[in-house]
């Protein structure tokens, strides 16, 4: 039992790691390219690398963080133009060829000794040279924090059975939520009633006020003395307001949905998911620095950006603009015959998806170094695997797929390390073995569930 729990512990550590969040952001961008618009971009890692270089190099030249991030975006914007202008008028395959080579060009340029003053050559840029401004934004204070503070060690002196019970509750909650969501999906139709504009404005106003209050109060509790500058306050305000906004709108939607039997099912499923998250951290509490290089601060920001990205993608694809993307994916000539500028639409999609990619790259290097080889071809293929696993052309598919992909690999590695005797497979071989199993898993997935976990099978059936 001990082994199992420690394996699961390692799996969870990977699942909430900042790097997982970073890749999830890049996959969200890839989903705009491939899932919604049908652009076969095989160079998403190139976008990540450019974003990371753009931000890190700017900071080493003492440019403020905000502008450094903007420079990262501008670099990816220019990269999109360079890739798109010659290829987007041609058939889709050309983009695939050009993106994969362009990403390699970026990687090799990064390694080049001639640029060593900027990129650090093959050694890369060390974290201490650029992570300072980001870490000093933190309002979480110093010291260490355990999540949840109330966990299995507080019940019956942390006896084994408490942890096992937590695990069972967790599995039960997940199974329950999945079953509920499945029955909702099969019955079809909308669950959410539209909210009136007065309610909406009231909620937004309330969120702004509460966010402002929290911005003042929370740093005081966190007994911190750094990061009193205005930018840090703004970041805190944005984060608190968004969280309050999400809670208020979620609560309001749940309240409104509770009136119908279908809505009750949806609310119950949501509650079970929240319970599952709590159960995870109750059973496997995690302790990190509040602020340090690999602490809660970077995790919070990384996952906050993931949530924000999902929200932005949702707003984009539900609009008539999102309809254009799907139209281009289906048939470019039909779109031209309807008077739509296909080239402009594809270019916009390439730029937007690329920006998510570069944002992912910036988050990716917050815990490590900017090293060209860490964002190579294999990362692009992992991103595709995660996208197909979660379900292309869905909102949460990329995030779910990335979490499952990265944690499943760790699960396999740890489990084979623990249970397969060294005579058959040494510890260093389990790493490779985990990739093999993930690859086989992907093949099985494509054969038996081509739409991914969240995808719509009905939609896939008409794939022509």
């Amino acid at each position: 039992m001990d082994t199992i729990l420690s394996i699961l512990n390692a799996t969870l550590r990977e699942a909430i790691a900042p790097n997982t969040a970073a890749v999830a952001i890049a996959v969200i961008g890839l989903n705009i390219h491939f899932g919604f618009t049908g652009l076969l971009n095989i160079g998403q890692a190139g976008y990540m690398l450019l974003g990371a270089y753009g931000m890190a190099i700017s900071i080493t030249y003492d440019i403020p963080l905000l502008f450094a991030v903007l420079i990262g975006f501008v670099v990816s914007f220019v990269f999109s133009l360079i890739l798109g202008l010659p290829t987007l008028k041609l058939r889709g395959d050309y983009l695939a060829i050009v993106t994969i080579s362009a990403a390699e060009i970026v990687r090799y340029s990064g390694r080049l000794a001639a640029f060593e003053d900027f990129t650090g050559g093959s050694q890369g840029i060390f974290g201490k040279d650029y992570q300072g401004p980001f870490i000093s934004l933190s309002f979480l204070g110093s010291g260490r924090l355990t999540l949840l503070e109330f966990n299995y060690t507080d019940v019956a002196d942390g006896a084994r059975w408490v942890q096992v019970l937590g695990l069972i509750a967790l599995i039960g909650a997940i199974v329950g939520a999945v079953l509920l969501l499945k029955s909702l999906k099969s019955s079809g139709g909308a669950v959410l009633a539209p909210t009136s504009s007065t309610v909406r404005s009231a909620l937004v106003a309330a969120a702004l006020v509460l966010g402002a209050i929290l911005t003042v109060v929370v740093p005081a509790y966190a007994d911190r003395d750094t990061a009193t500058d205005i930018f840090s306050r703004v970041v805190a305000f944005v984060i608190f307001t968004s969280i309050v906004l999400a809670v208020l709108f979620g609560g309001q939607a749940a309240y409104a949905a509770w009136k119908t039997s279908k809505g009750r099912k949806a609310v119950l499923a949501g509650a079970l998911i929240i319970f599952a998250v709590l159960a995870i951290f109750f059973t496997f509490p995690k302790t990190y620095d509040r602020t340090g290089v690999d602490g809660w601060w970077v995790r919070m920001i990384a996952w906050f950006i993931v949530g924000l990205s999902c929200a932005v993608v949702f707003l984009l694809v539900r609009s008539p603009w999102g309809r254009l993307l799907r139209g281009v994916r289906e048939d470019e000539d039909a779109m031209r015959s309807l008077g739509k500028n296909v080239f402009a639409i594809k270019m916009q999609a390439l730029i937007i998806g690329g920006m998510f990619g570069s944002l992912g790259g910036m988050v990716y290097v917050l815990t490590g170094t900017v090293q060209a080889d860490s964002m190579g071809r294999s990362l692009t293929f992992f991103a595709y695997t995660a996208l197909l696993l979660g379900g292309a052309a869905t909102i949460f598919g990329p995030v779910l797929g990335t979490i499952i992909f990265f944690s499943a690999r760790i699960l396999i590695r740890e489990a084979s390390g623990a249970y397969i005797p060294d005579a058959i497979m040494t510890n260093s071989q389990t790493e490779q073995f985990s990739y093999v199993v993930v690859g086989v898993g992907l093949m099985l997935l494509v054969i038996f569930r081509p739409q991914g976990i969240l995808g719509n099978k009905r939609e896939l059936r008409f794939n022509v």
Binding site: R326, G327, E330, R336
Partner: protein, 327 residues
């Protein structure tokens, strides 16, 4: 719409208007909406289209007929910007509603009010029928990347567009399918969807490439009604069709193409009596029902028909070339 379209619903007015038009290839029309000069398209050694001059009268239904491989679809592709003429820059010139289209791309042509459909239908399979329709509307505020994230900016217009789409779907008997994926529709329904989608933009001129192929007789009847209603509302219609009864029934003017060139023009009945047209396209027995057993029993002389068939096979390559490109 222009002044001349007023009263176009009256057949006598239309006949009167076209009475003075010379019944010869490339004749000038009293008020042409589309005019084409020196447009040629070669695929290797084969000349698929070679049109010296053609004008299409505003507010009328013009049929474009001709044997397989005559270059009708290629001609459509050329003037709608989906293909470039080989004679581009060498005297090729065509204009729509006063604006020149020589260097205009396909989407800009559609935006200017000339919307086409395809012979091989292009339904957007993995989108719902309703989404297909909504894409047809033009000047949507929510289609701008900067504005699309703010729903209040476009939700009002979206509702209007949805209502309009529902109205058109109702007319084309597709309303109950509006939430189905377009990929689940039958071939005939896709034709209808494509036509309804094209109408979403309120085009000045609609170009239909074999709209009746694969549509059942009852629906053909109502489609004909729709096309005539369009004309009566002021839309110009240019369509390719092989069913001569349809052509005879609704077209005000017929243009005949053969081997890339325009060989005849005129009202339906006159054109169909034209010996050149009969030779090139119709065959001597175009008015007799070949499925009629009596005809076969009597051992009727079907000679000319078989001649026409071999003629068709001889000139098929440009068309198949063209279709391969779009398949």
């Amino acid at each position: 719409m222009s002044e001349t379209t007023v009263g176009m619903a009256d057949p006598a007015v239309r006949r009167q208007l076209m009475a003075d038009v010379a019944q010869e290839p490339g004749s000038a029309k009293p008020d042409s909406i589309l005019s084409v000069d020196n447009i040629t398209r070669r695929f290797g050694g084969i000349t698929a289209v070679d049109v010296n001059h053609l004008e299409v009268q505003r507010g009328m239904i013009t049929a474009l007929i001709g044997p397989n491989g005559a270059g009708k679809t290629t001609f459509f592709n050329l003037i709608t910007g989906f293909d470039k003429p080989s004679s581009a820059g060498k005297g090729a010139h065509w204009s729509f509603d006063g604006a020149t289209l020589d260097k205009t791309g396909a989407s800009a042509v559609a935006k200017s009010g000339m919307v086409r459909t395809f012979q091989l239908t292009k339904a957007l399979s993995r989108m719902t029928v309703m989404d297909n329709m909504l894409l047809g509307a033009k000047d949507q505020r929510g289609e701008s990347l900067l504005r699309c994230m703010f729903r209040p900016i476009w939700s009002g217009q979206e509702r209007e567009v949805e209502e309009k789409a529902a109205g058109l779907l109702e007319r084309f008997k597709l309303l109950e399918k509006k939430d189905d994926y377009a990929g689940s529709l039958s071939g005939g329904q896709r034709k209808l969807l494509e036509m309804a989608r094209a109408l979403m933009s309120d085009p000045k001129m609609i170009m239909l490439d074999e709209p009746m192929a694969g549509v059942n007789p009852a629906l053909t009847q109502s489609l004909l009604g729709h096309i005539q209603a369009l004309r009566d509302e002021g839309t110009t219609v240019l369509f390719v069709e092989h069913d001569m009864h349809v052509v005879q029934h609704i077209s005000d003017w017929v243009v005949v193409m053969a081997e890339g060139q325009i060989v005849a023009e005129g009202p339906a009945d006159t054109v169909m009596a034209n010996p050149a047209v009969i030779d090139a396209y119709l065959g001597a027995h175009h008015d007799t029902d070949l499925g009629d057993d009596d005809l076969l029993d009597e051992g009727a002389d079907l000679g000319p028909v078989s001649e026409t068939v071999s003629d068709e096979q001889g000139s098929q390559s440009p068309e198949s070339h063209d279709e391969g490109k779009h398949a």
